[in-house]
């Protein structure tokens, strides 16, 4: 297990708060609530700690030096370095930055591990390459909080994320973003999932950046492999947010469910969900958007899509965009709620609907989005 200073000693108090806002908890009793912690400020890994046998977390550069098999089997194997401008820029870094997380065979970890990635300087570019490997018979919940310091308005967050989920394994990846208003965010992610394994992808964006593109691709290669995406986005004036994801159903009897919930208080929002059926499988995409005072040119565009190569691929999609109905708001107001409280409750219901087993972390973030959206409406 990697050892370094206690995380509470190296992260400044205001940064502790910034990280807490995106679900990364730096605190004295951390070993009781987290399985491991990795924090990267700008270009510098601040701390790496693991509290659990069988879980390794370290900077990717160190991992590449230590483990030859990482480069041979995983590094740049799901995503090609010349896929696009983002991958090219990440590949061009002399010393790659980012984390490597490895869960050894048979290790099932119930407490979440966490990675905090934040930008503390105006205009800084983070170019990251993160790799997660779950061997067979493992389980991990990884919370990644990406954010900018309070005063930071602009910056670049470019990331290549590759994750490998072995057989009989479950990876829950919860990504919480909260950005300065002019930050440009480009994660490129791909996940490969083995036999009887599950991948759960949660993405929540609280303070929207100027421009976000996040459409992780999952390859369900294994028999009965499943993927579940939950994307919850709050868009605001001036932002362009293009999120969702793709799932390739390659394994027999694989299954996927993609849910996208967007609240637009301005800006452009694209909700995506694309399924590729290569085997007998079942999958569904559900995009729902709510326009809340979107302004002159704010919009939501829902783009669910299906591509089937197999006659027994059962795939479907639905999409809807609506508004908060005044009679619903006033119904709740007639019980004594303020208008913004009523709107928050309705937005919260809209975001929560059809999601079972929401983690405490996600639940708290969704509550926050609902509260923000409620206040947005009041003008």
């Amino acid at each position: 297990m990697a050892k370094s200073l206690n995380t509470v000693d190296v992260v400044a108090p205001d940064e502790v708060q910034t990280l807490a806002d995106v679900g990364v908890q730096i605190r004295p009793d951390e070993p009781q609530v987290r399985a491991g912690t990795y924090v990267l400020r700008d270009h510098l890994p601040l701390c790496v700690q693991t509290y659990r046998e069988g879980l390794e977390m370290m900077p990717i550069a160190e991992a590449l030096r230590r483990y030859d098999w990482l480069r041979e089997r995983y590094y740049w194997k799901l995503i090609s370095p010349d896929q696009d401008e983002v991958t090219r820029q990440v590949a061009a870094e002399a010393e790659p930055q980012g984390y490597f997380i490895w869960v050894r065979q048979g290790t099932r970890i119930t407490r979440p591990a966490q990675a905090g990635l934040f930008i503390s300087h105006e205009g800084l570019s983070q170019k990251l390459h993160n790799v997660v490997v779950l061997e067979d018979d493992t389980e991990l919940h990884l919370i990644t909080g990406c954010t900018t310091g309070r005063a930071v308005r602009s910056g670049y967050h470019l990331a290549v994320n590759e994750a490998y989920v072995g057989a009989n394994a479950t990876l829950t990846f919860t990504m919480v973003h909260s950005w300065g208003p002019e930050v440009i965010v480009r994660p490129r992610a791909a996940v490969a999932v083995g036999d009887h394994s599950h991948y759960i992808n949660n993405y929540v964006s609280l303070r929207p950046a100027l421009d976000i593109q996040s459409n992780p691709r999952t390859y369900l290669n294994g028999v009965r492999a499943t993927a579940k995406y939950m994307t919850v986005i709050l868009g605001s004036r001036g932002s362009i947010i293009d999120t969702g994801g793709e799932v390739w159903l390659n394994g027999e009897d694989s299954g996927a469910e993609l849910v996208h919930r967007g609240v637009c208080t301005g800006g452009k929002m694209y909700q995506r969900g694309f399924l590729v059926g290569n085997a007998r499988c079942r999958a569904h995409v559900d995009c729902a958007g709510m326009l809340l005072d979107p302004g002159e040119d704010g919009f939501i565009e829902s783009v669910p899509g299906l591509r089937s190569f197999h006659p027994e691929a059962q795939m479907s999609h639905e999409a809807s965009v609506g508004k908060v109905a005044p009679e619903q708001v006033e119904y709740l107001m007639s019980r004594g709620m303020e208008e913004h409280e009523a709107i928050s409750m309705i937005i919260r219901g809209f975001l929560d609907a059809d999601i079972e087993g929401l983690s405490a972390e996600l639940d708290a973030r969704i509550g926050e989005i609902a509260a923000l959206a409620g206040h947005g409406e009041r003008k």
């Binding site: 109905a325 005044p326 009679e327 619903q328 006033e330 119904y331 709740l332 107001m333 007639s334 019980r335 004594g336 709620m337 303020e338 208008e339 409280e341 409750m345 309705i346 919260r348 219901g349 809209f350 975001l351 929560d352 609907a353």
Partner: protein, 255 residues
């Protein structure tokens, strides 16, 4: 605290339109503090519209006239402000809201009003709404269940002035006793000096609910106007015997 007139609600020459069409054409109505009035009238005559206007729902636009509550002009107040003054409504057709549970609304009331969580739990049991606490509010409820869910919310907020839009419609005979007792509780005594109950307005077609809650006066609404008013028993009897046609004649004579 009561207004100088002793009326908790006064409506003067109220004109209301919905989607550009006038539905209420000059309503005048006064309900003294401590009284419960019944409102009757044929389908489409404007009973629901009047109640929704009193509550302040924005689809109902007041184009002329005033609504005075407890001596204060509330015509321009928001729904929230009216609710906080103590006005409440059990709607005839409350909206369903996806993802919002009856429990969440009751929790809100516990957090903001004087009622305790234990008292609400008891209310929930008495009104037999436990089973839909965690379902989307009003979604898929039967007619009788909706009435009970609405009444629980009203009872939890303990309003000074309750409006009930057809509390007995869609309620089977066995459940009527339950709904009746809940309605009755809404108007229990709120003051001893003088002895006085809470006030309200109840829309009823059949008058069944009036077996559980004594009304002081009844009004008949016809085509967006209050046609006549009087003793509830007499009014009910007249309608039962001769229907609303008689009222229409009577009103035309008066005009």
């Amino acid at each position: 605290m009561s207004s100088s007139t002793g009326n908790i609600l006064e409506i003067h020459d109220l004109h209301v339109e919905v989607e550009g069409k006038e539905l209420l054409h000059g309503i005048n109505l006064a309900i003294p503090e401590g009284q419960v009035h019944a409102l009757m009238g044929p389908n489409g005559s404007g009973k629901t519209s009047l109640m929704m206007t009193i509550m302040g729902f924005s689809a109902y636009k007041v184009t002329r006239g005033q609504i005075i509550f407890d001596g204060r002009d509330i015509t321009g107040l928001s729904v929230t402000e009216r609710a906080r003054l103590g006005i409440a409504i059990a709607q005839q057709r409350p909206p369903t809201i996806v993802g919002v549970k009856l429990r969440a609304v009751l929790d809100y009331i516990v957090a903001h009003d004087s009622i305790s969580a234990e008292e609400v739990t008891q209310l929930v049991r008495q009104a037999r709404v436990e089973n839909f606490l965690d379902r989307d509010i009003n979604a898929g409820l039967s007619g009788g269940e909706i009435k009970r869910a609405e009444l629980v919310q009203l009872l939890a907020t303990c309003p000074r002035f309750s409006m009930m839009d057809e509390p007995e419609s869609g309620v089977d005979l066995d459940s009527l006793a339950l709904v009746g007792s809940l309605v009755n509780r809404l108007f229990v005594r709120d003051s001893c000096r003088p002895v006085r109950r809470r006030s309200g307005l109840i829309v009823t077609h059949t008058g069944h609910i009036l077996k559980y809650i004594e009304a002081d006066r009844a009004h008949i609404m016809l085509d967006g106007r209050i046609g006549c008013s009087g003793n509830p028993h007499l009014v009910l009897q007249t309608i039962a015997e001769r229907g609303y046609a008689e009222c229409v004649c009577c009103m035309n004579e008066g005009a």
